[in-house]
């Protein structure tokens, strides 16, 4: 317990939050039947991973621009994925599929 309190800092706290988000979003991704909800869960899961990435690295050695740059790339890839999924879902719904 003392170990936890000593080593605990802001960066580590957000890494934990990221892990919680990742787990919750994973569950939501699997259970939800609506494609849009799945997409939202994917985005939140991604945010969880990004928080782990930055939080954990900065916990080890302070502000680090490398994971921040990686996450910036990750955010852009995630928005591209979201946009692509939305394009496909919209087309699918227009063809009579269920969202």
């Amino acid at each position: 317990m003392t170990l936890w309190l000593e080593a605990f800092n802001t960066d580590f706290w957000y890494a934990i939050v990221g892990a919680v988000l990742l787990v919750l979003a994973l569950g939501a991704f699997i259970t939800s039947r609506q494609l849009i909800k799945k997409l939202l869960a994917f985005n939140i899961m991604g945010s969880g991973v990004f928080l782990i990435m930055v939080g954990l690295a900065q916990y080890q050695h302070g502000p680090d621009s490398v994971p921040q740059a990686l996450v910036l790339t990750g955010i852009v890839v995630a928005v591209a994925a979201t946009a692509l999924a939305l394009v496909l879902i919209r087309k699918f719904v227009l063809k009579g599929g269920q969202p």
Partner: protein
Amino acid sequence: MMWFDLALGLGLIIAAIGVFRSEDLFRAVVLFVTFGILLALTWLRLQAPDLALAEAAIGAGITGVLLLDTLGVFRQHEQDINPRSSSQLPDISRQWAANVLALIACISAAGLLAWSLFNTLKMPAPHHNLVTVVEANIAYSGVSHGITAVLLNFRSYDTLLEVAVLLVAIVIGIGLRERVTTSANATSDEGQSKLSEPPALLTSLVRLLLPLLLITAIFVLWAGSTRPGGAFQAGALIAAAGVLARLGQIDIAARVTTILRLGLTLGVFIFLIVAVSPMLTGKPFLTYPAGWEGTLILLIEFMLTISIGLILLSLFIQAPRPRIPAPVRNAIPATGPNAETNKGGDQ
């Protein structure tokens, strides 16, 4: 400030749970945008203002707009064409299987992550420390802001591929969209976009905001070399300006012309040219000639901003929408080899 962090972290989790639990999609999307704003705050707390900017502009902004637009399309579509059928009732056994699967996945993921994080607390700091390596080399990178140096010099290959990813998304977007417009005649497209005349108040606000947004975008781009900012955030701002302009009915060409294609590919094209040219003098791919790093990075970032802005904007504009059935359409029969599939398509 620990209490603030505690509250912010819990706020993120609560917002996420709200997204997952809400039955209404609109509500879920609004909560998701709230989540994005909280996340932007979180990045500030993690001393990552670049990510805060990107999250606010790209994560919450553009994603939110795309999602809301999609919901609007669904609403329109369901009312006009496809009322909810009773066959849509959930399949109970499948749902149970999914629940059990999710429970197992969640418990194992939670266990693994908890074990890993708990052990991290006991570990010594890692062997490598890229922070010092970046600091030692940033003087040779041509920029003084660490993240820009990583994105456009040290790891510029990632960025090149990343813009290619964006490009693939828009190529698919255009590919799925054009099929609609080729069989529809121009008037039905016009009719759709003029469905509701925007209030004059909105139009005038948009006219006021557009130049401001563009100036901000240029500032964010230029700031990137010395402080938080850069091509991706600036590109998102340009896209936001475009979306606003479209909401305010300021006409933006929705047609895929060669000029648009040029704009979409410009960023990668210039990037590739700059990356390949040192190979002529025997230097490795993606090397900047000494002394020219700063200038070339700014050039690439400028072109990337244009391309990213156009790509994000086009993903909004080109996304498939239902066509309003116009009586004129029957008068002009669809022709060409794809006529059959086109007709069956989007009615």
